[in-house]
């Protein structure tokens, strides 16, 4: 056995790269499992799509009924994410800045849309907003708007499932905000609104955009909560995931796969966007501290 201070011993100690066991095992297992469950099955979508010529693919993904579904899916998702950004920011602000009765319960229940199965959310929202429901009857008699079984219902379901994303991305950034910044702004003569707009809001912006993007990405792919309340009328209230299901039920695997390819490409773009927004958030908050 070498003496403790021998160069060999020291060398091994310093380059700590081999000190911990299990690298090959854990990485090998991770890559194998990832490939089997996610990567290989996902590649089936692209391989199956390759069986189509580009013209065939384009014809499938641009039929009027499918295009109408994109318009509804993306339009409603964008609107829902915007609504979530506004109310999510207000809710996060209340939870961090104000004391009010029942705050702890509100804070815990914000995550309900994560925890509540989408099918349950779908039938609950439908019961509530249908023409004879508690909220739906009021909206219909007072404003003359039918919510359930129209595109409004789609929007509503997407607002429900996206809400926690904005609250939970903005809340920690708001909690970490430096007191002294606001005190400094105030002592330099800024009024409260100026401080919020010029000092706090720019700091929150990356997190707010991340929450918006997460809510949007979730909304685009959502299926369970939407189909109960949408009414699913062709050209009017059919979402894109439903188009995939419809094609599958007709055993039109090629059609289903072509539309799935479009959705997958959108997912990849959103994933990249969200990753860069999160990097921006981290960088911004690092700078402020």
């Amino acid at each position: 056995m070498p003496a403790f201070d021998s160069p060999q011993r020291k060398g091994r100690f310093m380059s700590s790269h081999n000190a911990l066991p299990g690298f090959r095992l854990s990485l090998g297992y991770t890559l194998t499992w990832l490939s089997l469950i996610v990567l290989i099955p996902l590649s089936a979508v692209f391989v199956k799509t390759m069986e189509l010529s580009f013209e065939q693919f384009w014809a499938i993904v641009t039929t009027p009924r499918v295009v109408a579904s994109y318009q509804l899916t993306f339009g409603a998702s964008l609107a829902a994410a915007t609504i979530n950004a506004v109310f999510g920011l207000l809710l996060a602000w209340c939870l961090v800045r104000y004391s009010f009765p029942g705050k702890k319960i509100v804070d815990s229940l914000i995550d309900l849309p994560f925890a509540l199965p989408t099918a349950v959310a779908g039938i609950a929202l439908t019961a509530l907003w249908a023409g004879n429901g508690w909220v739906g009857s009021i909206v219909e008699s007072q404003f003359g708007i039918k919510v359930a079984f129209t595109p409004w219902g789609v929007l509503l379901a997407l607002v429900f499932i996206g809400l926690p994303f904005v609250v939970r991305t903005v809340q920690p950034v708001l909690e970490d905000l430096d007191f002294e910044l606001e005190e400094a702004a105030s002592s330099l003569g800024a009024n409260r609104w100026q401080t919020i707009r010029r000092v706090i809001f720019p700091t929150l912006l990356p997190a707010l955009l991340t929450g918006f993007a997460l809510a949007f990405a979730r909304a685009v792919g959502e299926y369970g909560s939407v189909i109960f309340i949408a009414g699913n009328m062709p050209m009017v209230s059919e979402i894109t995931p439903l188009m995939i299901i419809t094609k599958l039920e007709q055993y039109d695997y090629r059609g289903a796969t072509a539309i799935a390819t479009v959705m997958l490409i959108v997912s990849f773009v959103m994933l990249i966007t969200i990753n860069s927004l999160q990097a921006w958030t981290a960088k911004r908050n690092g700078k402020i501290k």
Partner: protein, 295 residues
């Protein structure tokens, strides 16, 4: 996904509100609270409440009858089975992935994390579709399985696969940031002192990550039991055989048996509430542990 990460709260509201430089006037405060809570009541409280209201509308007896009906019972069993298989598998995967990613340096690490995140950003319907493409009648492996008299899609194995897919990142995503933040000093010390890899993991790493691990398991389980879109595509909807609870709810609901649908839905709503209570408890415990280690 950042939005589901274990987050330690520190309530600073009192500090903000007592300082004139960091508070708004009372009417602004109560207007903002009023608007936020109205939105909260409309979108969170009312939907939750109406599930139980509709479920019990025809009385307790009808409620219990809807739950013990054979199709309902078999859907409950299948849901429990799918969760009992998919959660442990994702637990093992999550720990392995977090160990490799958080404790070692290698090229392509951030790309690997992105790949692990993929199932979060893919529509559940597409998640179901990919297994139909692989194991379906015309799929890659489908004909082989059919020849050998095994069904994967439109049967129970497909449901389990789809459940594993949609819950794939939950535990890994909970562990990776925490284990990265904890570094590798403690594990190295343990190894240098002669502990084996498993001993190091069991006695050093595991106690440090137990709350995050439990948190990930709870979220993973909630999603596993509640998944609808992906499971719907691969299920085949055979009554009493390939229906999970969410699928059973859909069928009963479409037959206009609303109370029965809400009865089964109320079980899943209770599961969601239990999940949120446990989540709040874990956050509280993790905060306590952190405070104690600081003092």
């Amino acid at each position: 996904m950042a939005a589901t990460a274990l987050h330690l709260h520190s309530d600073l509201a009192g500090r903000y509100e007592s300082n004139p430089a960091t508070r708004e006037s009372a009417w602004v405060k109560w207007t903002v609270i009023g608007v936020s809570l109205t939105f909260f009541a409309l979108f969170i409280l009312l939907p939750l409440f109406i599930v139980f209201y509709e479920a019990l509308r025809k009385g307790w007896e009808a409620y219990l009858v809807a739950l013990v009906e054979p199709d309902a019972l078999s859907s409950i069993k299948l849901t429990l089975l799918a969760a009992a298989i998919s959660v442990p598998l994702n637990l093992v995967f999550g720990i392995a992935a977090a160990w490799a990613i958080a404790k070692f340096e290698f090229r392509g690490k951030s790309f690997l994390i992105t790949l692990i995140d993929l199932p979060f950003s893919i529509s559940p319907v597409v998640a179901g579709l990919i297994y139909v493409l692989v194991f379906g009648r015309t799929g890659w492996l489908g004909p082989w399985f059919i020849e050998n008299d095994m069904r994967i899609v439109f049967a129970v194995p497909g449901i389990i696969l789809a459940t594993i897919f949609v819950t794939f990142p939950f535990i890994a995503r909970e562990l990776i940031p925490l284990m990265e933040a904890q570094g590798r000093d403690e594990e190295e010390a343990s190894t240098v002192l002669g502990a084996s890899g498993w001993q190091t993991f069991w006695y050093v790493t595991l106690p440090n990550i137990k709350w995050a691990l439990l948190y990930g398991v709870i979220l993973c389980n909630a999603r596993a039991m509640g998944e609808f879109g992906a499971v719907s595509v691969v299920s085949g909807h055979i009554r009493g055989e390939t229906n999970t609870m969410p699928l059973h709810i859909e069928i009963v609901y479409n037959e206009y048996k609303f109370s029965a649908a809400f009865a089964v839905a109320s079980l899943l709503a209770i599961l969601a509430l239990v999940t949120l209570v446990l989540k709040t408890f874990i956050e509280w415990r993790a905060t306590q542990t952190l405070k104690r280690s600081k003092t």
